[in-house]
Point group: none
Chain length 522, copies 2
């Protein structure tokens, strides 16, 4: 069985709150989808906005390889002839070889939203599809609200798709526009529609968290096309997530897909689209998320060491993702063993110091530390426990003065006294906020001796108040990310004093950088 | 049909990468779940870590109403007798009325992970369940990897649950531990298991984005218990999301749930747990996400004006969420009108100052302010714009000195100069951390003039770094909650300087208290 993938990331996906693509963004995503091997690529609604019109102009320059570009639009206006409808004119003008037309199948919508008669809507569907077929286009008919329509007035809903079929539509796609249908309703609808047209598709939304399941159910019932978006982006709760549908079909259901050989690029595709959309990738996203193959429980880690299949439904490499075993207070020595290499520990050291290190981690996590996302601090702790920690510097004393003046000006000044070997450096700096002042002063002191430190930039700073109900006496956890070119350094500090917590995390990042920088610390 | 909800947010949910609950976090979430009306609440694995042991100690003080507390653990050690197994000892010691035991049903796991014989595993299951039943506990048997086991060696998988049944297990929960099963496999497994035990449950993971669908499928096949977590948090891609399962069962499938009448608190529950977990709530989350009922497309917005049902699968109020139409600035003024009473504004004032106040709110939100959860600061802003703001005091100058000494001692000292009318008070205090020192100094200064202030206690303090990528120069938002008896005062402050942001929020809370306290400020 062969299934066609129809991507609407650039049209329905762009309806997600928080997404706003430029034309250049859309072109970039289009290129990635083409190279991934998507069968149908919906570019937008030319005429609905100038941006989409421009996209179709620019898209003419792309090499579409085996992908077909689709332009999206609605059936003709209730009161216009097809030849006079500017919407249809723009669809033809887009020069897209495929045109996708959505039409009403729910009687409520015809009468209330379109404010026309049920009879006229049937004419609109027929004439619009016939007009586009005459213009030589492949036509996909999106039966909007099909499942709600079928529930409310099955006879009418089916009559609409009969009209689309009679006019020559190549595919009829049943849309669960409001996203609230259950798999059984989807199955029943697909079976009925297949009696009318052999090429049925499914367009599901995720409002009941069933979009992927509903898409699979439709295919099991005989549908041959599935519409969705990368990462499931889309209006409200999103569209059906192609990043889950593709591996489910291909790896679990034995369905043939044209993009089959590109499955190992799926994770890259997912992260790329998130990046262009400027959204944080969902770490827990199935298959492609950063945590999708992360194991935290000690029981799981120990089993994975013996057989990877014990706690993985597929091998992460199949979709271009990778396995991670995290260290936390849930963990045992097994997690440590799994990570020993990245912690710089030999098998021998794990044997000798393993339990002590796990105990130290548990104790510190009890105080509020968190080493997930602070791998550099964990490595320093491992070095400390095994007696291998070098100290490139020592902070003898630090002082911060913050003054909020009557005119609203705020001054932050840090004074630090740092020892490197026999040398003592005593210096000061101001900054934009107390932590910034401290960071500046510390770097100023250390740069004299370690000029390489100028490569290290602070890139991320997070604060979490742990026992919030303790009010201003609460324990504070600070997570810092620094970057020195390609490698990120993640560190953590905890204290009731936010300044001290920040200083700890800052100090860890500097030490980690210095001891890992070849030739910097002997 | 009645279905039991079994929540494992505090155990399996805590396995999510990035989640690290304190005991106090777990107690807070437990309270919320109890008041929501969850049937079974899994508190943790006493003995796996000291935190969970402490949780069960503290949980004894809670009023569980109609919720049953469950302690989680594994079958006895392959080489120990039940009476000598410290794991089982801790389960009894937890005093939880329900014990949930997971046991292996997949032959591969028995031999490779447990390194024992298939025969011994059957004994381990039987003896463990029997031991707990003799101790008077209700026992839930979690059949780990049931669906993988059933696929690989159906005879053995069923034999395991027969043993659990024979030993008296009250429920047998079929776990899709690796999260890769399809709905058809779930259905087949449930039907088989029901031939053995009348009370079957389902525990699904979301690795194929099917956890909700699989849970519903199990219930359709006859399961009576569903395990899941709030927001679907959990190891790897997460557990089945109760925030979707509950409304699907209740609103779409006509299933009876004990928490039925609390459905309008579902969105609050979802956001609360995200807050405690310190995770950004997923805006696209079905039912409870901020965008779940947001309409962006022009076609949708105009249809919604005619009939809400046109683009909504349920009414958002049913789950405590609300509709949003992302369009104009008009929304601002109507929001304001809606809230005018709580802001202390007359209809006349809204008319005169409405636009100015909306503009001020937008400008401040652009800077990073957030008035949801900081209603007192919003009221002060409204008073300021309408010229009604009294100033019970003025901070002329404040200074903070923080010193981190070589021996590790940390000193925080605050100096404040405050004016009340013609009086100037210049005083100082130390504290546990800089914000605490500032709070102490400010109160010390003001208590001389406003002795009522001693009633006001700081009860919550939160920090969020907004533009995290700006490193230590990032903008920081501080939210403070104070309490003076029955009423909470929520305020906000924003600055690149955490001390200044805290001072703003502190000052707002003191002013709000004083101007609302009858007879305090004239």
């Amino acid at each position: 069985m062969k299934i066609y993938l129809y991507d609407t990331t650039l049209r329905d996906g762009a309806q997600a709150e928080g997404i706003n693509y430029t034309v250049s963004d859309k072109l970039k995503i289009a290129k990635k989808l083409i190279s991934f091997g998507i069968d149908y690529l919906e570019g937008g609604w030319p005429g609905a906005n100038p941006k989409d019109l421009e996209f179709f102009q620019e898209a003419k320059k792309l090499d579409f390889a085996n992908t077909k570009l689709c332009a999206f639009g609605s059936t003709r206006h209730p009161k216009l002839l097809v030849k006079d409808d500017p919407n249809l004119f723009n669809l033809i003008k887009s020069e897209a070889p495929v045109v996708t037309i959505f039409g009403k199948t729910w009687d409520l919508h015809v009468e209330i939203a379109l404010e026309t008669t049920l009879e006229n809507n049937l004419l609109m569907v027929y004439e619009t599809v016939a007009f586009l077929k005459e213009a030589g286009r492949e036509v996909v008919f999106d039966a909007e609200h099909f499942f709600d329509g079928y529930k409310n007035n099955p006879e009418y809903a089916l009559k609409v798709i009969e009209k689309a079929f009679a006019a020559g539509a190549d595919f009829i796609v049943l849309c669960d526009t409001n996203g609230g249908s259950l798999p059984d309703q989807i199955r029943a609808g697909v079976i009925e529609a297949l009696k009318i047209h052999p090429q049925i598709g499914i367009h599901a939304h995720n409002d009941a968290e069933l979009a992927v399941a509903n898409s699979l159910e439709a295919i099991k019932a005989g549908a041959v096309m599935v519409q969705g978006t990368v990462n499931g982006y889309g209006e409200r709760c999103g569209n059906a997530n192609l990043c889950s549908i593709i591996p489910n079909l291909s790896l679990k259901m034995g369905v043939e897909l044209n993009c089959r050989q590109n499955l190992p690029y799926l994770t890259r595709l997912s992260r790329y689209v998130a990046e262009i959309a400027n959204l944080h990738p969902n770490p827990y996203q199935p298959y492609t998320g950063q945590s999708a193959f992360t194991h935290k429980g000690g029981v799981h880690a120990s089993a994975l060491l013996k057989d990877k299949g014990t706690y993985e439904h597929i091998s992460p490499e199949l979709v271009g993702n990778h396995r991670k075993v995290s260290i936390s207070d849930q963990a045992g020595v097994s997690n440590l063993l799994y990570n020993s290499e990245s912690l710089g520990l030999s098998a021998e050291e794990v044997k000798v110091f393993g339990r002590e290190l796990v105990a130290a981690v548990k104790e510190m996590e009890h105080q509020g530390y968190q080493f997930e996302g602070a791998e550099a601090s964990l490595e320093l702790l491992a070095r400390k426990v095994t007696g291998k920690l070098l100290e490139p510097f020592k902070i003898a004393n630090s002082k911060l003065i913050i003054e909020i003046k009557e005119d609203g000006r705020v001054l932050s000044e840090a004074v630090v006294k740092v020892r490197v070997g026999d040398t003592t450096i005593h210096t000061a700096s101001d900054g934009n906020g107390p932590v910034n002042a401290l960071d500046n002063a510390l770097r100023k002191a250390l740069l004299e001796i370690y000029p390489d430190l100028s490569q290290l930039k602070l890139t991320d700073y997070k604060v979490r108040v742990l026992n919030e109900k303790a009010g201003t006496e609460a324990v504070v956890r600070v997570l810092i990310e620094s970057s020195a070119g390609e490698k990120n350094i993640n560190t953590v500090g905890v204290s009731t004093n936010i300044i001290e917590a920040s200083l700890k995390a800052l100090t860890d990042s500097l030490i980690y950088f210095l001891i890992n920088k070849e030739g910097t610390v002997s």
